[in-house]
Symmetry: C2
Subunit: 378 residues, 2 copies
């Protein structure tokens, strides 16, 4: 059955960009390395750990680079099946930043620890503690658990320090489980464009997390990990003295939505460069002012807006169909097979659509990286 999938790669090593088949995802390797080193410097400066979120890029190769030059102490995944990909590829410290509830998935997660990897997950329900304990005991492994505290994201997680404590005590008492700390990711704050509003949102959530931490410590439970933070807010959590592990993901590749997040000076995200692009070609030009390219909904996710043209203002991506993109081309500059570099609206679900990253350096294809955990939903 695998043969049926017949991955057809868009490029071969050594090709120039013009030779690459489109549409595909392109990584600017220099920009990627710049981003990884910049974040590594940031976390060293703040004295916190960086547990990179692999759900952003889903790539074993990028995660390895994040460990080698990017200062990562471990990785985050969002799904058990994602974690399986990374553990299989040799990663030894993997946090699933999510609740694991289906019995079959708890079983899969427990088996991940059989080879000696440190496996962590989140818990927001007392009943889940017994389920996880049973799953870990079956294989004689240990699963470390963070209690998820909802610090404003409004999704999973409990809302009060008492609930956190109750679950933490249960974890500590359960066979084959270990209480490892607090998961507190303020997802909603990441994309607040105005710096002061973003800072204020995290100030509120961090104060809550600090109280939870003290509440646990008062009860004799210390937090190995107080984890959270993303590309939009990591400097606030990292500098708070409350969090000790940041979970940034998108900073490595960036996207148009994070480009809109402003610094204190009102500059759009100056710290990280766009390293991820959709390479598309013009494939129809029959009308004045409009060109049609080959990048549509199968090529990029539009939940956070349309892709942006990279370093061009004379043309604009204005509409997205299943397999086509419409480009506003008021001066009719575009010709058939002209290539365009688009910055995707949202990194994570865009990477999830592709089988490969075409990695470019000095105008040549340096590597072809599989998007290792694409489609890992379970």
């Amino acid at each position: 059955m695998i043969a049926e999938y017949g991955f057809s790669a868009p490029a071969e090593l050594g090709m120039t960009l013009e030779e690459v088949q489109t549409p595909c995802l392109v990584i600017d390797m220099s920009a990627l390395e710049h981003n990884l080193k910049t974040m590594a410097d940031q976390v060293v400066g703040m004295g916190v750990r960086l547990r990179v979120h692999a759900k952003a890029h889903k790539s074993v190769d990028i995660a390895k680079l994040q460990q080698v030059i990017g200062g990562a102490c471990g990785i985050c995944c969002q799904k058990v099946s994602e974690a399986e990909v990374f553990v299989r590829a040799g990663f030894r410290d993997v946090l699933i930043t999510n609740e694991v509830r289906q019995p079959s998935k708890i079983d899969r997660m427990a088996r991940l620890a059989l080879g000696g990897a440190r496996v962590l997950c989140c818990v927001d329900d007392l009943e889940n503690v017994a389920e996880l304990s049973e799953g870990a005991s079956k294989y004689g492994v240990q699963i470390e658990c963070l209690v998820e505290f909802d610090c404003g994201g409004g999704r999973c997680g409990v809302k009060s320090e008492d609930e956190v404590l109750k679950i933490a005590i249960a974890i500590e008492a359960a066979r084959n489980l270990k209480f490892a700390g607090i998961q507190a990711y303020q997802g909603k704050a990441q994309h607040i464009q105005v710096y002061s509003e973003r800072r204020d949102a995290i100030a509120i959530s961090t104060a809550q997390v600090a109280e939870v931490k003290v509440h646990l410590e008062t009860a004799g439970l210390s937090c190995d990990i107080v984890g959270g933070g993303g590309t939009g807010t990591f400097a606030f959590e990292g500098g708070s003295g409350v969090y000790n592990e940041l979970q940034c993901g998108t900073y490595a590749l960036m996207d148009a939505d994070y480009n809109r997040v402003e610094s204190a000076e009102g500059v759009c995200q100056p710290m990280f460069k766009n390293a991820l692009f959709i390479l598309t070609s013009v494939m129809s030009k029959t009308k004045r002012g409009i060109a049609v390219c080959d990048a549509g909904l199968k090529t990029h996710a539009v939940d956070s807006g349309l892709p942006k043209m990279f370093e061009r203002t004379d043309v604009e991506f204005i509409h997205c169909a299943d397999e086509h993109g419409a480009i506003n081309d008021p001066q009719d500059k575009l010709c058939i097979n002209d290539q365009l570099l688009l910055v995707p609206g949202h990194c994570d679900p865009t990477c999830n659509l592709h089988d490969f990253f075409v990695c470019m350096r000095d105008h040549k294809v340096e590597a072809l990286w599989p998007i290792s955990a694409r489609g890992k939903l379970l």
Copy 2:
């Protein structure tokens, strides 16, 4: 490298729905068969051919059923790499309803015809005729070409009958090409909800296509194929006396967006049943009135709106994050691991996110079908 992908299937044959891992795509086999037979009856009644669009489901197994019980004369694909999957699986009559412009893709397309398959594509530019002729000649194969006429879609295709004629004459004169007719798909009209407005839009486009056809015939060029029509409008094109091949795709599986398209009586698409579902589970329930499920942007496309709850009005899917969905649950009925069936907003890009269809009949998994052409972008 393939091993790294390690497809993890959400189900095994014989499982009940409750045993299936979530999130995943589920097909109701009875509903699928109903839809295929219904469309087969429709096209017989109208005396036209049905060339099913495989881009909707991307499945070799569904396309085979469409030939066996669904009255399909052949299939449509949108990309050369999609066509490769279907030709490799034994399909012998494949129309790429798109322009093929990159030299490497023309080469791939020409090679598709080497095994004897009938390969067709669309053309909307004179220069493309020479490119295609050269590509087909290199392998000594024939590529059949439809001239794409923009009958209101506003995307690819030429706008005037003279332009169509000019390209048709060039195709007819070109080595190893054959003029096969007109491609005229009015994509914009498919989703017009009100019946009369949809009918009127197609009346306009069909009148234009009729003129183009006469113009070609006057010049001595007959159209083997006048192709177009989709799930929203096929009855209009099929009954027009102008079109002779319909290119419907979504009717086989259906989605929430096409559910909103009304019949003459104002009934929402009564002809086809929902055969495609996202199966999701509740994985967090820490707040009153809200449940969190495991279906997010990685599970379904939201370009045409959020998924709809299937045959339930007491709960509603209200927000979509990368890996989570928020469910409005005002009566707090939902419990952890409760399963929900969602009708995806948009079939095509949702199927493109998954590796498998879990096919259910009589509450058991009857088959596990790979989504054969998922991710075929080139």
